[in-house]
Symmetry: none
Subunit: 413 residues, 2 copies
């Protein structure tokens, strides 16, 4: 549960809850629900009551500051039916904090020592707001400050071990397999029998920017058992999906490309028109990319395509800048100029203007890959339902994926 | 309400809810609660029931995909006590989507046309997942896909107007002014008297990636009154902060640069080492950027700096690739080769490895701007507390800001 007007008004995105959810999960507990409410004592108390009623643990962040709109302490008091009382322990810690930093303590900070009766103090090593721990007859409630650095330190120091011990034995393990090149529905069909409800591990898919990820979440009595269950499913998913799988966990296409290029000791250069530098940017996002990335060109104008990459002016005239012929000439010219093993080229219409349907709609992109054997070109119709940013992103991903498949020995065509 | 296992497990941060909360607020409605649940039909139905009971509107995102773990449709059906039925309208829209893009429709996508009886279809102009609209006796429920681009388009097209009409009373107006170049505390001091509590409009600052934004949120009985209140504060903020203000709303530095370049009829080229294409990418993120962006170089290797930009090999030898001298030579060489009015160059250590403190720590970056008058170089010490991605981002922002100030006639030095 996250508390704060800035969260329910959309001013700030609540990132604490996702961090806590992951921490809770890896300790073997299951997160039922994440809730965000504003600085409203009735709302806060209502969600606390419901949480204590339906869950074993409630972990809250925010609303412990020194101002009048920090109402988490009052919300807990109302939810559990006690009064706020000045905690000597909390006050001592707050005073010690200011002493350590040799600053006078503002009067407002004394408010932070007013805690719901019968609750324990969660020490805050990095700030003034003490946390609150309520141990109820059936459930527990822990309230931590909203400042991420303070919250994370307090969770690690004071909450994590108890939560892990309390989580009824089962340990959860999550792994993710990332694919590119097939629609979500097709990936789903290939592993439909693994995605049935109530199966352990649970298998599901998520789509983001053309990358379809398969999540495998297993639970068992020990980490080793859960690990083994999940590993078996991951192997099965990888086996069925073959070369569309490019990596695990947080790995992106550029990491797979980097690994393959470094293993093979090969180099790459780029020549971009519609992607405007994005392809080179993603390839150089990877630390150590200077081992394989030599140079890149952004040739937005026709003149630049001719001057830098040697694309013949009459080819541009005849086929237009957005054509398979020009993509091929860009890749070939780039590879020759850079002296690299591979060269990637993009040319297309990223929009929103500049399309001439039906032959040249927005989203028409040609991607070319040149290597020692020659040049392969892919024609993409990314469609006007994608934004300019999405079209550029997708085109650069297709380029990285062509290079990846080529390094795996798979002709992309 | 956001739905998806990836959200309750902490794998993905839910950003849709914050976006929707802001949209709801500016239309004069108040957001009570944001809830995230996993792909569990009982949980989903339970939250829907509670929402329909306690609020006038429930807006949900996610769980409308074509696979078996997409359970929002089933959750609505259970919450309102109806069965799922194939909607001819929804199926027709899904089929039309595939037809338009000339692709065969995977069997799985047919599932997306199974909607709760008595619900209306919310058209999805950008994807296959139809939205669902339930108009109950007292409250309404709208379910949209989790893909942000689709969700936002559908909210704007189909939901926003009804919601605005339904929300009674006060109208909220939000405007944002964006600055670059001063720390948040300094910006805050300049407008401290506007940031007092309980003032209308409410003025606050947020920092993100070096950009400090000032938000002005006003409320009044009519949109015109709220607009006027907010406009007065925006004018005051702009007046006090002067040239550090680069734009409003969602405007980024590249939009300000694009506007100024187009107005002046000037052109730019880029030569990037540590930013690896990111600078060109941001400059070409803007539709119509071919009017001012001519070409770019990514010269990662020393050889490329010499071959493409004419940086003398002995300069590289003498000062090292990460030096003001080399940044200057890169900018000068780039401008000469591209024949543009301006050229921007970056060279630095983005890390995480490759730093040699104390003289050359990670985060040391030189940014150079060449124009007809000569070359200006800025030396940045971005600091090891920033990640590789943040160092690259900040360096590219400084480059765009130097160009912006130069176009305004302000020497950056």
């Amino acid at each position: 549960m996250a508390i704060g007007d800035e969260l329910v008004t959309g001013q700030t995105v609540d990132t604490n809850s996702a961090w806590l959810a992951e921490q809770v999960r890896v300790r073997g507990a299951r997160v039922r629900r994440l809730v965000v409410v504003g600085d409203d004592v009735e709302q806060i108390a209502g969600v606390f009551r419901q949480g204590l009623d339906q869950a074993d643990w409630v972990i809250a962040t925010g609303g412990l500051g020194p101002t009048a709109d920090d109402l988490t302490r009052a919300g807990i008091a109302r939810a559990i039916g006690v009064k706020l009382e000045e905690s000597r322990e909390a006050l001592g810690r707050i005073e010690a904090f200011f002493e350590r930093w040799q600053r006078p303590m503002p009067a407002g900070n004394r408010l932070q020592a007013l805690l719901p009766g019968s609750c324990a103090v969660v020490p805050n090593p990095r700030g003034t707001a003490p946390g609150v721990w309520y141990r109820g007859p059936r459930s527990q409630l822990v309230a931590l400050p909203g400042v991420p650095g303070e919250m994370k330190a307090m969770f690690a120091d004071s909450v994590a071990a108890s939560l892990g011990a309390a989580a009824s034995g089962r340990v959860g393990v999550v792994r993710r397999v990332n694919t590119f090149g097939l629609p979500e529905a097709v990936v789903g069909e290939a592993i439909a029998d693994l995605m049935v409800r109530a199966r352990n591990p649970a298998v599901g898919t998520t789509a983001s920017g053309g990358v379809i990820s398969i999540r495998v979440v297993g639970a068992a009595d020990s980490a080793a058992e859960a690990e083994a269950l999940v590993a078996a499913d991951v192997a099965e998913v990888r086996q069925r999906l073959g070369s569309v799988v490019f990596g695990d966990g947080d790995e992106a296409l550029e990491h797979a490309v980097a690994r393959l290029l470094m293993a093979a000791g090969k180099t790459v250069a780029t020549a971009e028109s519609c992607t405007g530098g994005l392809l080179a940017k993603t390839l150089t996002d990877v630390p150590g990319s200077s081992a394989y990335f030599i140079q890149g060109y952004i040739t937005y104008s026709n003149r630049a395509k001719t001057a830098l990459l040697g694309v013949p002016a009459d080819l541009l005239e005849l086929h237009g800048a957005v054509s398979g012929e020009v993509a091929e000439a860009m890749a070939r010219g780039c590879r020759a100029a850079a002296g690299t093993d591979f060269a990637l080229a993009t040319t297309g219409i990223a929009g929103p203007d500049g399309g001439r349907p039906p032959e040249r709609p927005v989203g028409l992109v040609y991607v070319a890959l040149a290597d020692a054997a020659g040049v392969r070109v892919e024609r993409l119709l990314l469609g006007a339902h994608l934004s300019r940013a999405e079209i550029r992103d997708r085109a650069a991903k297709v380029a990285r994926n062509m290079l990846r498949l080529s390094l795996l020995g798979w002709p992309a065509a």
